[in-house]
């Protein structure tokens, strides 16, 4: 993948450079919801500027897994490292102890997340949504934050909507603001949790365009999605999850032409 300085990331001052080549390193991650074993020994790595698409039926654990990456969900065993930092926990005598809240908050600053239901702050305008965290968390000077926020809005094609409240935006527009909001924290990687699943079909394209742009500019991304067209165009790797396990991994081409696992085949036959 060639990286060219481009519009989207230019708005936040270029591609954030994590100190290591491996951005995410997950080893043997296990998670239970009560007695339900939702993640079974998940291990995977994501390198800098890689785009990984995670597919799988609902309930397969794909959303849960990326929520563990920024510690919105606890894990019961295993390790997740982002930029070399153990996420959410400290290791005391080989056991996981949940980290201090302030440390977890600090780690999350490096990890942008885009939600299925957008989760924009309804009491704040589009621009305020974007600059809230930079002002509050990063202590960015207001003028600088506003400039960056407006630049980001311009890049996602919503320059005219800066002072509009989320309720007055379409789903696609809201999701683009949500992407801009996550980028405003200058994250080293972005997690997308089914970003187009709650959208009307005619709005999916505009959100995918922004994500493709981001991928082309070299953002490290994990994307949970059923959009195989997106995967084919920009993904470096595709992971197929089923019952809390990664059952198949490969290039998008592999999944289109030569899937091995029976469950992968049956899943793909339903969504393609």
């Amino acid at each position: 993948m060639t990286v060219q300085p481009h519009d989207l990331l230019a708005a936040i001052g270029g591609v954030p450079k994590p100190p290591t080549e491996v951005v995410i390193q997950a080893t043997d991650v296990n998670k239970w919801f009560g007695r339900l074993h939702v993640l079974r020994d998940i291990s995977m790595t994501v390198k800098r500027q890689e785009v990984v698409v995670v597919i799988g039926a609902s309930g397969s654990g794909k959303t849960t897994f990326i929520r563990c990456v920024n510690h919105l969900e606890k894990i019961q065993s295993g390790r997740i490292f982002v930029n070399g930092h153990l996420i959410g926990y400290r290791e005391v005598n080989g056991k996981l102890v949940e980290d201090k809240e302030s440390n977890i908050a600090k780690q999350r600053q490096e990890i942008g997340m885009v939600f299925q239901r957008f989760n924009l702050f309804p009491h704040k305008t589009a621009l305020e949504n974007i600059i809230e965290a930079p002002l509050l968390v990063r202590k960015t000077p207001p003028a600088e934050a506003t400039d960056m926020g407006k630049a980001l809005l311009t890049r996602v094609g919503l320059a005219a909507k800066a002072d509009v409240y989320p309720a007055q935006l379409s789903g696609g527009q809201q999701q683009r603001v949500a992407i801009a909001r996550a980028l405003a924290m200058k994250p080293a990687l972005m997690l997308f949790d089914e970003p187009t699943s709650a959208l009307d079909p005619e709005m999916i394209g505009e959100v995918l365009e922004v994500m493709k742009e981001l991928a082309r500019e070299g953002m490290t991304m994990i994307v949970v999605t059923h959009e195989m067209g997106f995967a084919r165009e920009v993904a470096d790797r595709v992971l197929m999850m089923d019952e809390g396990q990664i059952i198949e991994e490969g290039t998008p081409e592999h999944f289109f032409t030569n899937p091995q696992n029976e469950r992968t085949k049956s899943f793909l036959s339903k969504i393609l």
Partner: protein, 304 residues
Amino acid sequence: MTPSRISRTLGPRPAVVLAGASSLALLVTGCGSQGAATTHVAFDWSAFTSSLFTPDHLILAGLFLTVVISVISQAIGVILGVFLALARMAKAAPIRWIASIYIWVFRGTPLLVQLVFFYFGVGAVHLFGWNPINVLGLQIPGAIQAGIFVLGANEGAYMSEIVRAGIISIDPGQMEAAKSLGMTYAQAMRRIVLPQAARVIIPPLGNEFNNMLKTTSLLFVLGIQELYETFVIKQGQNYLPFEMYLACALWFLLLTTIWGFIQARIERQFAKGAPGAPTSGPGLRQRLFGVRPAVEPSLVSGGR
């Protein structure tokens, strides 16, 4: 048709209505039927109107005290309510227990008993003396301190439930989004969740303040000369309990009515930018009498 069935179809019995109307007429014309046996059978218009339209400094002082104590107590109640609500949702069980016990006690005992206990009871065993204190050159008597303390503490217990309901009503995705941006729980609460919860909290909060204005009348037990106690004293001096208590009631009605206007304004203010929020809150008519206006067609048709 039996008489009872007739009365059911006609609403109030005509005889009752007639009796009510005639007694009102008697009252207005001032022709008491008891004759000259008592001194004040006639309605004393001048004492009544003057206590309403040309209130002396005692009434004004009582009015002032009622409003000030209400505002301060309510403010304490709201702040306390927010912390109690957060405590009841805390991760640590002991914090939840303390908050629950507090709410249990203050909601489960009469306010009147709380007032006399904390002022007279606590004062008598010298746990706390309730000595006068000086605030910005103003001497605050112990009774008023105790009154504000107890009203605020009591209100906090009620507000905590209202605040908690408000917080719970906010989509958990809001907290998650805030956290994913690197905010701590406290930052997310303060900047994202509570401002949204405020929209839900404000209407019942307004009703709580309406209550508070009236509840201050209980402070008479501590000898505080708020609006009610002022009129108690007045009727003791001029032997006009009917006129004085009626005037007292009208003063309270005026306070709660003014508050009704202010509340409607505040609710409109907070509804701005809210998704699907109506452009106006419930009107005054609805607020005072519970009358619902006809639904505007423009509000019913959904869609963007």
